[in-house]
């Protein structure tokens, strides 16, 4: 087992290097530069712009810039933002709590809806409940989040005036009022993202359950006289959850990556909005750091999913 994990970790190194090369080259080749806003500012002479480019090493050849970046990254220096003139890691850490809170809650909401609904729908396939669940699932994943987001804002903020649509990181309240306010402002974004995720996940859970529920050992368990609940929870679900675990494990990096569109609509200061504003202002060190961290997380959680397999299903041996 530990040998397996070690081997997987070693394999991860070249793949991460490969990913970083691709990311770096693509970003370096992308048009635009971080000082474009200066171009039409009559107070800033072009020489200053050129001097800044030189100072931040933008005029060096790509391979040199990559080696500099790699060297710094190995020393734990994530880079220096051109736009904010501060370290990238501070910038990312500042944005992390909002993303973890909102996207994390949305994932939990999605699971809380998807697993019970999916399991129940699978036990009674083509029943009325199953039909309704299916219909909602289809509607759910057909509607993009930017549409449902705006719809929610129109209904709950503009028309009914119940919920705020600008997410605020400094709520002027303490204790229970602070908690309530935090929940109130997260309701819309969490609902938008959570329902979207829940829709596709429900379909997934349902089909995973249906695959298992027809197997002979389930019939055997029922023949032994076990109750419906025990059969479903203990015998069916445990096996059906294996593919679901993979899906969830692969979604966890997304929790860190944020949701670009939703964060933009509700002005949530998360990683997603940091990424998009950095892309728009050509702040390459930030874009590079965010995407690379994201890549690392994907590789890591893939590994975790594989290890979890072994634990859920002892028949799968890891070598």
């Amino acid at each position: 087992m530990s040998k397996y994990v070690l081997r997987r970790l070693l394999i991860a190194i070249p793949s991460l290097l490969g990913i970083s090369v691709v990311l770096f080259v693509v970003l370096a080749l992308a048009p635009g530069d971080p000082f474009s806003e200066l171009a039409t500012n009559p107070n800033v002479p072009p020489e200053v712009q050129a001097a800044l480019r030189a100072k931040f090493g933008l005029d060096d050849p790509i391979y040199l810039r990559y080696l500099h970046w790699l060297n710094a990254m190995l020393h734990g220096d994530w880079g220096f933002s051109f736009v904010s003139r501060m370290d990238v890691d501070t910038l990312i850490l500042q944005r992390l709590p909002a993303t973890l809170y909102v996207i994390g809650s949305a994932q939990i909401l999605a699971l809380l809806i998807a697993i019970p609904v999916g399991v129940y729908a699978a036990t009674k396939p083509y029943s009325l409940f199953d039909q309704i669940a299916n219909t909602f699932a289809f509607i759910g994943f057909s509607l993009p989040t930017f549409f449902t987001g705006l719809l929610f804002i129109l209904i709950f903020s503009v028309t009914l005036d119940w919920l705020p649509f600008v997410y605020s990181t400094d709520i002027k309240a303490t204790g229970i009022r602070w908690v309530l306010e935090m929940i109130r402002q997260a309701i819309m974004p969490v609902a938008v993202l959570g329902l979207f995720q829940a829709a596709s996940m429900t379909r997934f859970v349902r089909s995973a359950m249906l695959d298992v529920i027809r197997l002979d050992y389930v019939t055997t368990a029922r023949a032994k006289g076990l109750g419906q609940a025990t059969v479903i929870v203990k015998h069916v679900m445990r096996n059906a959850m294996i593919p679901v675990v993979t899906l969830i494990a692969l979604q966890i990096p997304a929790v860190f990556g944020g949701a670009i569109v939703t964060e933009q609509i509700f002005r949530i200061p998360g990683i997603g909005s940091l990424l998009i504003s950095s892309i728009l202002s050509n702040d390459t060190p930030v874009v590079m750091a965010v995407t690379f961290v994201f890549a690392c997380l994907v590789v890591l959680f893939n590994l975790i999913a594989d290890v979890l397999y072994g634990w859920l299903d002892p028949r799968i041996s890891l070598r």
Binding site: G32, N41, N43, V48, V83, Q94, I153, Q264, S273
Partner: protein, 596 residues
């Protein structure tokens, strides 16, 4: 003639036979109102007065929270590193300049005790120095006194190339010296008619010497106070999250009486202009929304029964179409639009003239800019004193067709005009932005009617405005026949703006397209007018030179002005923001209050 009249009026104000207000009224009557009117008086020997004050609150604080929504939030809080106005806006909450600009372009005192004039000895008659007296008793937020040393330090800090301050251009040509603890003198190396650049306005606010002295030069980026400002302003710094939030609280020791009105200030970033307008005008979650460039009918709809309204400020921003005087389709020595070529179509003045008649400015105003735009024939639209009255524009497909007919451009079999085998086909580029693409469509339609084929091209803003040498799609490369955008006029004076188009500033491969004269228009008369204006101390003659320069551009159709654009902001109905078209939105923040 105008010259003489003005001169006698200045004389009257000087002797007290005419009051200042009457003077400004008379100026308005002859079309010479506003911003520099007061600078005219100052240089004519009359002390410059402060703009009228309309501040009502009678005590400091008690106004609750002021919630500002900047859809592009500040990303850093050191004014010397500000890459855009958003950063200057954020820094201005805490840092202050010696003086700022009010909505009429008058100078307003902040850290200075009096406005320099010839009478009080502040202005040298030869225009080569200006002496500022500082307000006594001003304290930094940490309790240290504000003195002339701080002002001198800002100059030293910014002019050092190793600091890589973006304010270097303002500071490197001047010398700043301390006269005494509360007096500084700025020396210019040539007569400088517009002396109010350094230390004036939001871009030139003053940072404390005692906190930045150790971080001058190459260590500039390590200063902890880059992200946690300690200033002299109405609000003390509380918290900063780049791109997301800036927070401040009332400064109890603020040096202006009864100010500020609000107890706390919060500047939230992120999102887009439309939803910012909604959060201010429709739901009232925020008090003020910055730069609401949204189509007018959307704003009108939001304003119906809403909790806020739009606020406009007139400045000098012109949306224009620039014509390329070189050939963008022929490559010479590895560059297109080379100075060694002439534009095959635009070298005929008739084509340029016809093109300017095909831009329907009234329709663009009606369909796109609405209350936020004004039609104009001039490239230079402000300050008022510099605006030419000698120009006019009209939209007429018939007249344009006639001009082309007379010049020998006859419609071919496909309806496109041609002459000597050259077809009237042009490429029209701009940055991607809703109003700009709509304008392109309006112009293209009219051109088609007149037999000109227009190919539209739109480039992502981050590329279009970049200084990337290798990218052919930047506005400076100008590898198209015509292009449209705007260059903001950031202070109430046209000098920086107009000197961009000197022949020596042509953008070429040799200067890595850093030259600012992107239409590559060369005109000796223009060069002479600008150079004369730059050392002309007589304000009236100086204005005349700039008007002449504008008229030369008009005669040659270098630019087709599409719209004189106003600043658009959104504010809660009861908020009384002071917004100047000549300054950043937060430049007058200390005077904002809420009507009870």
């Amino acid at each position: 003639m105008l010259d003489k009249e003005l001169r006698s009026m200045i004389g009257k104000v000087k002797d007290g036979r005419m009051d200042r207000r009457a003077f400004i009224k008379r100026m308005a009557a002859v079309g010479l109102t506003a911003p520099l009117a007061n600078q005219i008086l100052a240089l004519g020997g009359v002390a410059m007065a402060e703009g009228p004050q309309v501040y009502k609150p009678t005590k400091r604080g008690g106004g609750g929270a002021l919630k500002l929504l900047w859809w592009q939030g500040p990303t850093l809080l050191n004014p010397h590193f500000a890459t855009g106005t958003k950063d200057q806006d954020g820094s201005r909450l805490f840092y202050e300049p010696l003086a700022c600009w009010d909505p009429d372009g008058n100078m307003k005192l902040v850290l200075a005790a009096e406005i320099p004039s010839i009478q009080n000895g502040g202005l040298a008659a030869d225009g080569k120095s200006v002496t500022w007296k500082l307000k006594p008793g001003v304290k930094w937020h940490d309790g240290k006194p504000f003195t002339a040393d701080d002002v001198v330090f800002n100059w030293e800090y910014a002019k050092d190339p190793a600091t890589s301050a973006l304010t270097i251009a303002t500071h490197r040509e001047i010398t700043v010296e301390k006269v005494d603890d509360l007096t500084v003198r700025i020396l210019f190396n040539k007569p400088t008619p517009f002396w109010a650049d350094a230390f004036v306005g939001a871009p030139n606010t003053i940072i404390p010497k005692h906190l930045f002295a150790d971080y001058k030069g190459s260590k500039s980026r390590e200063a902890p106070t880059n992200l946690a400002p300690v200033g002299t302003g109405p609000y003390k710094f509380v918290e900063f999250k780049p791109g997301d939030l800036v927070r401040g609280q009332l400064n109890p020791d603020y040096h202006m009486p009864n100010r500020p009105y609000f107890d706390t200030v919060e500047m939230k970033g992120g999102g887009d202009a439309v939803s910012a307008a909604r959060a201010v005008i429709q739901t009232g979650e925020y008090d003020f929304g910055w730069n609401i460039q949204v189509e007018d009918d959307v704003l009108l709809r939001l304003e119906k029964g809403g909790k806020g309204k739009t606020v406009y400020a007139v400045g000098g921003d012109t949306e224009f179409i620039a014509l390329n005087f070189t050939d963008p389709n022929t490559e010479v020595d590895g560059e297109r639009s080379s100075m060694k070529t002439k534009h095959p179509l635009f070298s005929d003045p008739a084509v340029r003239k016809a093109l300017s008649m095909l831009v329907d400015r009234e329709s663009v105003k009606k369909a796109i800019y609405g209350r936020a735009g004004r039609t104009t024939a001039n490239f230079l639209n402000g300050p008022e004193k510099f605006v030419s009255k000698n120009t006019s524009w009209e939209f007429s497909v018939e007249k344009a067709s006639k001009i082309l007919d007379d010049a020998g451009w006859k419609p071919g079999a496909d309806g496109i005009r041609e002459k000597d085998g050259k077809k009237l086909k042009i490429v029209y580029q701009t940055s991607i932005n809703g109003p700009r693409q709509k304008t392109q469509a309006i112009v293209k339609q009219a051109c088609q009617k007149a037999g000109i084929d227009v190919e539209l091209k739109s480039v992502v803003a981050s590329v279009f405005f970049s200084s990337d040498v290798a990218n052919p799609d930047t506005y400076a490369h100008f590898y198209a026949d015509i292009e449209m955008f705007q260059i903001p006029l950031s202070q109430p004076d046209p000098s920086q703006h107009m000197r961009r188009y000197l022949s020596t500033n042509v953008a070429t491969k040799e200067n890595k397209w850093q030259g600012t004269n992107f239409p590559r228009w060369v005109n000796k008369d223009y060069d002479a007018a600008i150079e004369a204006a730059e050392s002309e101390m007589d304000p009236v003659k100086r204005a005349a030179y700039y008007i002449k320069a504008n008229d030369l551009m008009f005669q040659d159709t270098v630019f087709i002005p599409v719209q004189h654009r106003l600043k658009v902001e959104a504010a809660a109905n009861n908020l009384r923001p002071i917004i100047s078209g000549w300054a950043n939105e937060t430049d007058n923040l200390h005077d904002w209050y809420r009507e009870e």
